[in-house]
């Protein structure tokens, strides 16, 4: 994976960002802005008081909270239908930022169209603000591809972890991950702090934070720091081991984990670790977690006794890192092989764990190619339904929904087999997605979104027909509430997301278009009822139908055929209703085929 956003580690913007981050310390604002040529830098001021690291009123074990879907619609997982989780205190810091002139300032920069690049940066918790500010920028400006906006770049120095795996997954799916680059010195404690339970560091955190502050001097051989360090590293170890199972976790460990509270936080974007002699970059969050633990190990007791002090000092040594590291020695993992890890003093065991994390990534890519290889077969099946089956049903003047529901002919049987086979294929993908066995970007690809949409529009009516043919609505409940398969829900989420991002549709418009999937089940439910009781629903169905047809959610070539049961039902409605119905014209017109 290349890093197109940064021309190299010696891109001047790196050291400039660091300088800006240090200058942000002395601002009396929450942010500090610098501008030169075509680049604007926003640097955020860190805080070393506990309330800015863990929100005091937050009751969860790691100070976490779900992101608000209205404000951050992209930050979620579609397969699990789950919003990203972030540290509440950091999110609050972002809100505080919005009470300042920050968002106006960004708007001015964007509107002026002078800048090519907009950088968000910060040291320590300032880095956490930079990460969330970048996400905000991406959600606010960048996702709408109408209009050209400056590419953001997020450079953090010793920032704490901010979000969970959904956060990471969403950034990668949107291909935004490439904008995030986090610099971490080998022993820096801060990127490890969020892996520890809030309760266990409750007492020692305030003092440790005070030590992390650039502007005060560090105490060596400090008992309190040593205690803090040991507590944090215990949980870092557990988190690292837990992550290294991947999906191979056996039942026992599952049971075991359920007894423990494990940190939800994971790294997002690229991490650039400094080993002291060179820089190693990687963006596999499981591998990064292994490094965060194993790079702290040593066989030497003397060295180990120095670690607590080093873990504080390293948080303050980013200037040295930028000065001393030979800029040409940036290594990328897994490209350059795990031998570069020797500088971290990693044991064989540790290297194996890092290596395994990269192998799991390779496996995900393999899985994607296997799925992609099956796509032509899926497309062929969809095409048969679209062309052969639908055409045949149209010649019968009945529409494919009704034809399939009656299922009298050989073709209906073939269509049913295809329906079942396609269901199997899409279910299989959904299972892989849920288990995280496909690359994060898999479902974000237009080729997949388009295929899933085509599948949903074409095949869902057949599933609905099947559902009502076997009166599953009696056994199970209404299709939309109880019977709708997850593969369609997932496909619909992807489609709506795509509309939101690419077409810039509003939430209301999307809502209206989603009604398309309800069409057949709504018809089935209304059909059995008396018009008087459900007048409103009938009217709503008619009213929204045009929009659904326009969005290609409902196929008007089929529903208005003479033999269509929908048409027959409409004609059975009371005269006074039909007279004012928006469908009147379509219903009185008989199409020639």
């Amino acid at each position: 994976m290349a890093f197109p956003i940064l021309t190299g580690i010696n891109d001047p913007v790196t050291s400039w960002s660091w300088r800006a981050s240090t200058r942000a310390y002395s601002t009396d604002q929450y942010f500090h802005k610098e501008e030169e040529d075509e680049t604007v830098i926003y640097a955020f001021k860190p805080s070393f008081s506990k309330k800015d690291w863990f929100a005091p009123e937050n009751m969860s074990s790691f100070g976490e909270i779900k992101m608000n879907r209205d404000h951050f619609p992209c930050m979620r997982s579609f397969s699990k239908d789950l919003d990203a989780t972030v540290n509440e205190a950091f999110l609050k810091n972002l809100e505080v930022l919005f009470s300042t002139s920050f968002s106006d300032s960004v708007k001015t920069v964007v509107d002026s169209r002078r800048s090519q690049r907009i950088v968000f940066t910060g040291h320590s918790s300032g880095g956490a603000s930079a990460i969330l500010a970048t996400v905000w920028y991406l959600e606010t400006y960048f996702k709408k591809q109408s209009g050209v906006f400056p590419e953001p770049l997020c450079l953090t120095f010793g920032a704490p972890l901010v979000g969970d795996y959904v956060f990471k997954h969403a950034l990668r799916r949107e291909d935004w991950s490439r904008f995030f680059m986090n610099f971490v010195t080998r022993f820096d404690i801060v990127p490890r702090i969020m892996l520890a339970q809030k309760a266990s560091t409750n007492q020692t955190l305030p003092y440790a934070l005070s030590q992390l502050n650039h502007t005060v001097s560090i105490q060596e051989n400090d008992q309190s720091t040593a205690g803090f360090y040991a507590t944090v590293m215990t949980d870092v170890e557990t988190a690292a081991h837990e992550a290294s199972f991947g999906n191979d976790k056996i039942m026992f460990s599952e049971e075991n984990s359920s007894h423990l509270e494990l940190s939800p936080y994971r790294s997002a974007g690229t991490f650039v670790f400094s080993t002291g002699t060179r820089l190693v970059s990687m963006n596999n969050s499981d591998a990064i977690l292994q490094i965060l633990f194993y790079a702290s190990q040593s066989t030497n007791e003397q060295e180990l006794s120095q670690r607590p002090y080093q873990s504080i000092r390293d948080h303050r040594s980013y200037q040295e890192m930028l000065d001393s590291v030979a800029m040409e020695s940036l290594h990328h993992l897994p490209l350059d092989g795990v031998y570069v890890l020797s500088d971290f003093g990693l044991t064989k065991h540790a290297k194996k764990c890092v290596h395994a994390a990269f192998e799991a990534d390779k496996k995900r890519v393999d899985n994607q190619s296997k799925i992609d290889a099956k796509l032509p077969r899926i497309v062929a099946k969809l095409t048969w339904i679209e062309k052969d089956y639908k055409l045949r049903c149209r010649t019968l003047r009945k529409g494919y929904y009704d034809s399939f529901k009656e299922s009298n002919e050989e073709e209906d049987f073939i269509a049913n087999v295809i329906r079942a086979e396609l269901a199997g294929s899409f279910d299989e993908v959904l299972v892989l997605l849920k288990k995280g066995q496909l690359p994060d970007g898999f479902e974000g690809r237009s080729v997949w979104i388009n295929l899933a949409t085509r599948y949903r529009r074409l095949m869902e009516p057949l599933d609905i027909a099947n559902y009502h043919r076997f009166s599953k609505n009696e056994d199970t409940g209404s299709y939309m509430e109880k019977g709708r398969p997850n593969r369609y829900k997932h496909a619909q989420r992807l489609y709506e997301h795509d509309l939101l991002i690419k077409a810039g549709r509003t939430a209301e418009e999307i809502q209206a278009s989603s009604y398309g999937s309800f069409f057949w089940t709504e018809y089935e439910e209304l059909r059995g009822k008396q018009y008087e009781y459900d007048e409103e629903r009938v009217k709503k169905l008619e009213e929204l139908l045009e929009g659904c047809i326009r969005d290609k959610e409902v196929d008007d070539e089929h529903i208005f055929l003479e033999g269509s049961s929908f048409r027959k039902w409409w004609h059975s409605l009371p005269e006074h209703h039909k007279r004012y119905s928006p469908l009147q014209e379509r219903m009185n017109y008989i199409r020639d085929s």
Binding site: A199, M233, T234, E237, T238, H241, E242, S244, F245, G246, N247, D248, K249, I250, M251, F252, S253, E254, E255, N256, S258, H259, L260, Y294, S296, Q297, S298, T299, E301, L304, R307, G345, T347, K348, H349, K351, K352, C353, H355, A356, E359, A360, K363, N367, K370, S407, N408, D412, F413, N416, V417, A420, E421, G424, E428, L432, Q437, S471, E474, D475
Partner: protein, 543 residues
């Protein structure tokens, strides 16, 4: 689609020893042993129950675990094949368990009352661990599942029971609740070869640990350890040493940073696991240990791999099932009003095709049953929702056709009826068992308003065939009164059974089709009744 294949035995161990669970468990075991009393404490939101070790002098004396009746374990489902002996446990341990079980249960219930996170760890060192395991098993197999999550952690404990106990626990999906920590120097867990391990075993050495989670591999590792003759050093300090080393000195790297590492992370993992047990890779016991760990990975993975292969095959035979479904539906809609059971007996061209689908499905399911029997699939395979339902749908649709086929081609007076002499195919007997074991047949969902899409008693047609024969025999002149009585009783019995099913709408519309064997039989029966008056019935009553 494959998952990435890693050697996980060592990762599991690292993970386990990194958690506070085992440190806190051990600390409490210490107190329990010292004070010789049960210790119950809450640590970091988890309730720990530690049982003291008790000296047991008598030799291992196994007693049957009373899994039926109103004993402690009446709700423990063994699902053992009938030819296996019953589950048995050490009698002395059982007595200790009985003396403390109710006390522990009430303490847990009380202690958890106010808690939001309901998590319990039951633990013990040596014999205390064995009692802990039996207590945990009892709590887990209560008629209603416990309201808390339960983990049992034992340290150097003697094994609890026989092979049947071990396999029953695996089959009941309870094995993952048990973790047994065993020092490679400790003889206690591997002293008696007749006893079988269950749950996960964490083998510890100075170099680290390895987890094995199937009984065969654990036994094999016991065997390797027995043959290397590792000295039985004083055990308590050993565990103390492991617990404190792994919990407090985790930042001290235990493996050397030098040495070569295989590019294949599976191979690298196995090699490291062998080292973690303190074996050298080159000596014979190191080689055996390596084979044992590899085999363990294989044993754990093979059934999973096989069951995902089966899932694909299930997809491949789906069209066959749909074909039968389609056949049934079109018979239901046909003006012939014969139903698919009787239609199938016609065996014209279309039925021949359906028959091929029937055979294909039968072959697939026979294969599945064979694999379950040979234990080639996960222990709990047949309890998985997907397979229970898939097999059930198959049976509901296909067994009537098997019955039709049987009566068309195979039935004779000597061979006997479908339900007799093992004529019914074994696959259906097995699927029936799975369905029962799943333990949630149709919930009372209220009365059906429409007929079921398939007849819920898959042997309905076989029962009808018998009733049909009875009615034919009744008409024959040559039978004596005794026989007439028995025949009539069976006829009336089926009549009322069928009436109930029809009334409950438990039969599919094909049964009620105008010209189906059932409708014809009902008609003939009423003709027969009219002809013979109610005399028959009344006479019969007087016997």
């Amino acid at each position: 689609m494959e998952e990435c294949r890693f050697e996980t035995s060592e990762l599991q161990a690292s993970f386990m020893t990194a958690t506070p669970l085992w440190y806190d468990s051990w600390s409490l075991c210490e107190v329990a042993d010292r004070t010789r009393s049960i210790q119950i404490h809450r640590i970091a939101g988890i309730m720990y129950v530690a049982l003291p070790a008790v000296e047991i002098t008598q030799p291992d004396n196994l007693v049957v675990l009373e899994v039926a009746g109103d004993g402690y374990f009446s709700a423990f489902s063994t699902s053992l094949p009938s030819n296996e002996p019953p589950p048995m446990v050490n009698g002395a341990i059982r007595d200790l368990f009985v003396s403390s079980a109710l006390h522990i249960q009430s303490q847990i219930t009380q202690g958890l009352k106010m808690e939001e996170r309901k998590q319990v760890v039951i633990t013990g060192h040596s014999t205390g661990g064995s009692v802990a395991a039996l207590t945990a098993l009892w709590l887990l197999s209560q008629p209603s599942k416990p309201s808390f999550r339960l983990l049992c952690i034992t340290f150097g404990s003697p094994l609890l029971g026989n092979q049947s106990l071990s396999s029953s626990i695996s089959r009941s999906r309870l094995a993952h609740n048990f973790c047994n920590v065993v020092s490679i120097h400790d003889l206690a867990p591997r002293r008696n070869d007749d006893l079988w391990p269950f749950g996960t075993f964490l083998f510890c050495s100075d170099n680290g640990g390895v987890c094995l989670d199937n009984a065969d591999s654990v036994r094999r590792m016991f065997f390797i350890l027995n043959s290397t003759g590792t000295p039985n050093i004083e055990e308590r300090p050993r565990y103390e040493h492991y617990v404190s080393t792994f919990s407090h000195q985790f930042l001290v790297s235990r493996s050397f940073s030098g040495g070569s590492l295989s590019d294949n992370s599976y191979q690298a993992g196995v090699a490291l696991a062998v080292e973690s047990l303190g074996f050298s890779r080159d000596n014979p016991s190191g080689v055996s240990a390596k084979e044992c760990i590899e085999a363990a990975t294989e044993i754990t993975r093979a059934p999973i791999v096989r069951s995902s292969e089966l899932a694909i095959e299930l997809g491949n035979v789906l069209p066959s099932r749909l074909e039968i479904q389609w056949f049934k539906d079109s018979c239901d809609g046909s003006p012939k009003q014969l139903g698919y059971y009787d239609n199938f007996k016609v065996m014209s061209k279309r039925e021949m095709k359906v028959n091929m689908s029937r055979a294909k499905l039968a072959k697939f399911w026979d294969g599945v049953i064979r694999m379950v029997e040979k234990k080639e699939l996960p222990f709990d395979f047949h309890l998985g929702k997907k397979w229970v339902y898939a097999s059930q749908f198959y049976q509901l649709l296909a067994e009537p056709l098997d019955i039709a086929y049987f009566y068309k081609y195979d039935y004779s007076r000597t061979k006997g009826h479908y339900m007799e002499n093992g004529n019914r195919h074994k696959r259906y007997v097995e699927i029936d068992k799975w369905w029962k074991e799943k333990g949630e047949p149709h919930k009372e969902k209220g009365a059906r308003t429409r007929n079921a899409s398939t007849t819920q008693d898959t042997c309905f047609w076989a029962k009808l065939e018998e009733a049909k024969e009875c009615l034919d025999d009744m008409k024959s002149e040559s039978i004596d009164e005794q026989r007439r009585y028995l025949l009539w009783k069976r006829i009336v019995g089926f009549e009322s059974y069928a009436n109930t099913l029809v009334k409950m709408k438990e039969v599919s519309v094909d049964v009620l089709a105008r010209n189906s064997s059932y409708s014809v039989w009902v008609e003939r029966l009423s003709e027969f009744k009219i002809k013979n008056g109610n005399m028959v019935a009344d006479d019969a009553m007087e016997f």
